[in-house]
């Protein structure tokens, strides 16, 4: 399949989902392509309102791709179900076409590190630049330039939240010469207050502190999820119906095993505040003394989406 065909397939899926009342939006790599920060990806990462997980599963179940029907991808995928989407889990699906190619769809309900409801800021088929940029603060160095590039775009369009996503010193100083960041954002991101003194070394150190903190926060989050997954993976692998041809059967197996051994609220039970403190302690081991004032205020990112 060509990239154009893949893109059309995912767009059509989103369109049909929305016709059924499912709030959803494409994010991550494909959104970056749309927004002009291109990366090569064939996977579609898709945000879905957890309350409509059943409806989306119904849609996927009846959707074929050139005659290929969908399956869960691998034994690690939690079931596509409100409880696990709300808990921050991701369900993975694949359509394996006859030419050996395939379409990969990853569905989740809570974007990592999101500070605002993604459902309220959607642009066409895609989640907003702000949502995508927040997601790019991972423990992988390769993701951060995309956050910076999206932040710059936001500022060009007049969206001041873009200041939260720029992690390049030279760019920050250049932007500051055109228009300084508002005071309100400096509370959320203390590093921005350093721009008034324009000391590049101090700003570089502060940005390194920020990035190390976000790296560690992502690492802690992944550690918690991996540990929670272990018994579930074993249980799904042991059940021969986990690989049944029918997605309905695969889903029943995964739902049954998840109810038994996969805590949907592994992250909230561990404690978001505890994760942030742990990340801070780990980050400080790698940073020079005195850099902790520049660590971000993460209280806005500690929302528990399972509380309604």
């Amino acid at each position: 399949m060509t990239y154009t065909e893949l893109e059309a397939f995912y767009h059509d899926l989103v369109r049909r989902a929305r016709e059924r009342g499912v709030t959803c939006a494409i994010t991550s790599g494909m959104a970056c392509v749309h927004y002009g920060v291109a990366q090569t990806t064939k996977d579609c990462d898709l945000l879905c309102d957890p309350k409509l997980a059943d409806a989306f599963l119904g849609l996927i179940t009846e959707t074929d791709l050139n005659g290929a029907m969908p399956s869960y991808r691998g034994n690690l995928s939690p079931p596509l179900d409100r409880r696990w989407l709300e808990g921050g889990w991701t369900s993975h699906f694949v359509w394996e076409t006859e030419d050996g190619d395939g379409a990969y769809l990853d569905i989740f309900g809570v974007p990592p590190r999101a500070s605002a409801p993604w459902e309220k800021e959607i642009e066409g088929f895609y989640s907003s630049r702000h949502t995508v940029a927040e997601m790019k603060r991972t423990d992988r160095d390769k993701d951060w330039p995309f956050a910076t590039a999206l932040g710059e775009q936001m500022l060009e369009a007049g969206d001041e939240q873009g200041w939260l996503h720029v992690f390049d010193v030279s760019t920050l100083l250049s932007l500051n010469r055109s228009v300084p960041p508002p005071l309100a954002l400096q509370e959320k991101r203390p590093v921005l207050s350093l721009l008034a003194d324009t000391n590049p070394d101090e700003i570089e150190l502060a940005i390194r502190a920020e990035k190390e903190f976000w790296h560690q926060l992502d690492a802690v989050r992944v550690k918690v999820l991996k540990e929670a997954l272990r018994p579930y993976v074993v249980a799904v692998r042991k059940d021969p119906n986990g690989k049944a041809p029918s997605l309905k059967t695969q889903h029943e197996v995964r739902l049954e095993k998840a109810k038994e051994v996969l805590n949907p609220n592994a992250l909230t039970d561990y404690g978001h505040r505890r994760m942030a403190e742990e990340a801070r302690e780990r980050a400080e081991k790698f940073l020079p003394a005195g850099s902790h004032p520049w660590l971000p205020d993460v209280s806005a990112y500690l929302t528990d989406y399972s509380d309604e």
């Binding site: 060509t2 920060v37 996977d43 991701t90 959607i122 702000h130 710059e152 932007l175």
Partner: protein
């Protein structure tokens, strides 16, 4: 759903400031992604999608695998 693109602009915004920021943006893209990707990233949407599709299709035809793991969570 609210379209994020419809947000009102702040008082400091003007086409001239936007153009300054666009230039800063372009310089960053060249520095970080290279001249060719910077060129592609600054194309109008439809042209950009065609260029990205060409890159992807070419890589795939040469045997590049774009598969990524399915770990049960999103990074």
């Amino acid at each position: 759903m609210n379209d994020a693109a419809e947000k009102p602009k702040p008082n400091w915004w003007s086409p001239e400031i936007a153009e300054e920021i666009r230039q800063i943006r372009y310089e960053y893209h060249v520095r970080e992604f290279g001249e060719e990707m910077a060129r592609i990233n600054f194309l109008p949407l439809e042209e950009r999608r065609r260029e990205v599709a060409k890159i992807y299709d070419h890589a795939k035809a040469r045997g590049v695998k774009f598969d990524k793991p399915a770990p049960g969570y999103t990074r």
